[in-house]
Symmetry: C2
């Protein structure tokens, strides 16, 4: 395979997120690193925690890095002139102090790139909670708010978008309002809100993902993609999403002459919402994810059938084993399904919202 | 890509080694994990250290995991029934206590596999030193000696083989003696000694790698492969070598009916040295490595030319920068040269020694 087999030019990425030992547990950096490497990125993985397995198992062992350790590792890179990053991806951070530490890293990289607009791009996944519930300490929220103005693309889920914008999303109108607030208040260039589920009547269950790139008057350009839901809980999908968005946005931007050297890769005002590079990127990302997750669901069901035939009725102990087996069976099948990552077949198209 | 595009059946690997943040620094688990994943393994990466960069830069920041942390992470996997490993790869360990902790993990996995011979296989890289010099504490040596009897394949370099066998290798005779000692004294099924450099007269510089699989009378079956040297110091080549050996040995063994269910995958006595699966595996591994390193050398030279044209004569400070730039330029070019990993073209064949 030559360079042309990779969707993007050579790209050095600093990825700051959690590390989980159990291999098939592709979450955090374990997920993001492999996805980005497979697509041709050089990835510096700065691990904020080392856990035995992801928390979906209900029990876990391991350690968290302190904010000082995170800053120290970055300083180590700088000391040896190894901080030549084109992009940064930040995911789960174990507390407000580490959020601040990562903000300092991002600002340092951004500052270095001042004279070359577009030469550094930060994808921030503000991991804080889901389904109406915070799963980080409360002081993490204001810490993230202080970072927003330096991010180039943020990837909150519905709950995180509500938390950051202060707008409760209940319909299309409030969704637009949340996005407008984030653009206007924090001047965030690109926003994608994932896992949007609005009360609908009757229709088959579906999830929406909505994106927007800021216009020069700070107004949004909003598009959305609807995808069918797969009835299963998977871990690490947020991390896969973030890693793929990073690669595919760089690809879409590099396909448009001159855009890569504009600040934050923001398209001119005459580009409509559904024609944005962000929309092209999201289409490919969702195609990859749908392929991988459909395959995972298939294997998961096979594995659970086997488990149910083998283990039967041992009361409480077997209930715990069942839950653990379900977590294990639903681990995303990544390594052997790389074709979906490398060659996504776009089926769901961006539409105006 | 379907399953048949991968050289081996589904394989869960526990990889215990160091983690280095700087992406293009492919050393330790950073190297081994990507190589094994690319070739279709599910890899559980248990990181024994997290350093900003490899020690070749002469300066480094980061932390070491304690032996208790290592044991704890493994216990976390066991608690959730996530310890179904087919193979284990152990590399750099930060001290005697962690060597012991890893021995305990290996014995636990081995014990679980007692009733199914060949269902667990441990590749042990006894990282201790090189070129006549230990770079670990002295008590690491006896700690490793205690593990040897449980390993299935060990991958010492010449100095480590001397240290473990007590035989100084100066010619073919002493080389054979060292291998015989390791087979007989510790009953190690498979041995590969890397970076063997014996005093020769006149000939072009070359490196030898020598392997052996034990026969039923504990005698060795020795073969060797000579490869041309590439005049440059690369970091992480030992880890790439170990990861590739793990995959390619499993592949070679799975091509021989029934061998995978024999204890430690040891071939019958009628299989000659150069016909061993270990020899087939080594041929492919060296082909991959030669491809990757030749490409790396090419890029390294280009990069250093650029550096030398840019940075000229600033005394002491520039000498330090030069050394750092040399380390960076020699980082193994892995991600974008994956074809050499996936499709090695064998050029150097195993020969009798």
């Amino acid at each position: 395979m030559s360079d042309s087999d990779f969707p993007i030019p050579e790209t050095n990425v600093l990825a700051v997120a959690s590390h989980v030992v159990y291999g098939p547990s592709y979450v955090g950096n374990t997920m993001a690193t492999f996805v980005m490497q497979l697509l041709g990125c050089e990835v510096a993985a700065l691990n904020t925690v080392q856990f035995s397995n992801h928390t979906g198992y209900g029990q876990v062992k391991g350690t968290r890095a302190t904010a000082t350790e995170i800053s120290d590792l970055y300083q180590g890179l700088k000391d040896s002139y190894l901080d030549d990053f084109d992009m940064m991806l930040s995911g789960y951070l174990p507390g407000a102090a580490s959020v601040e530490a990562v903000g300092t890293i991002a600002r340092d990289l951004k500052y270095k790139a001042t004279m070359k607009p577009g030469s550094f791009f930060w994808v921030l996944d503000p991991v804080m909670g889901d389904n109406g519930r915070l799963y980080v300490a409360e002081d993490v929220v204001p810490a993230y708010k202080l970072l927003l103005k330096d991010a180039d693309l943020i990837l909150p889920n519905q709950f995180e978008a509500e938390t950051l914008s202060g707008v409760k999303i209940v319909d299309i109108e409030t969704l637009k309002q949340a996005i407008s607030t984030l653009h206007e208040q924090y001047r965030i260039p690109h926003i994608v809100i994932t896992s949007i589920s609005l009360p609908t009547s009757g229709a088959a269950p579906s999830l929406s993902i909505v994106g927007s790139t800021i216009a020069s008057d700070a107004k949004p350009r909003i598009f959305g993609i609807k995808i069918p839901t797969i009835d299963c809980y998977f871990s690490g999908t947020g991390d896969m999403f973030a890693a793929l968005m990073l690669v595919r946005l760089r690809e879409a931007v590099s396909n448009i002459e001159g855009l890569m050297s504009k600040p934050s890769w923001v398209s001119d005002d005459d580009v409509e919402a559904t024609e944005l590079p962000l929309a092209r990127a999201l289409e490919k990302v969702l195609a990859s994810m749908h392929g991988i997750l459909a395959k995972t669901k298939e294997k998961r069901d096979e594995e659970m059938d086997k488990f149910n035939n083998r283990v039967k009725g041992f009361g409480e102990e077997s209930e715990k084993r069942l839950k653990l087996a379900q977590s294990k069976a639903a681990e995303v099948r990544l390594v052997r399904n790389e074709q979906y990552l490398k060659h996504p077949e776009v089926r769901f198209r961006a539409e105006n919202v």
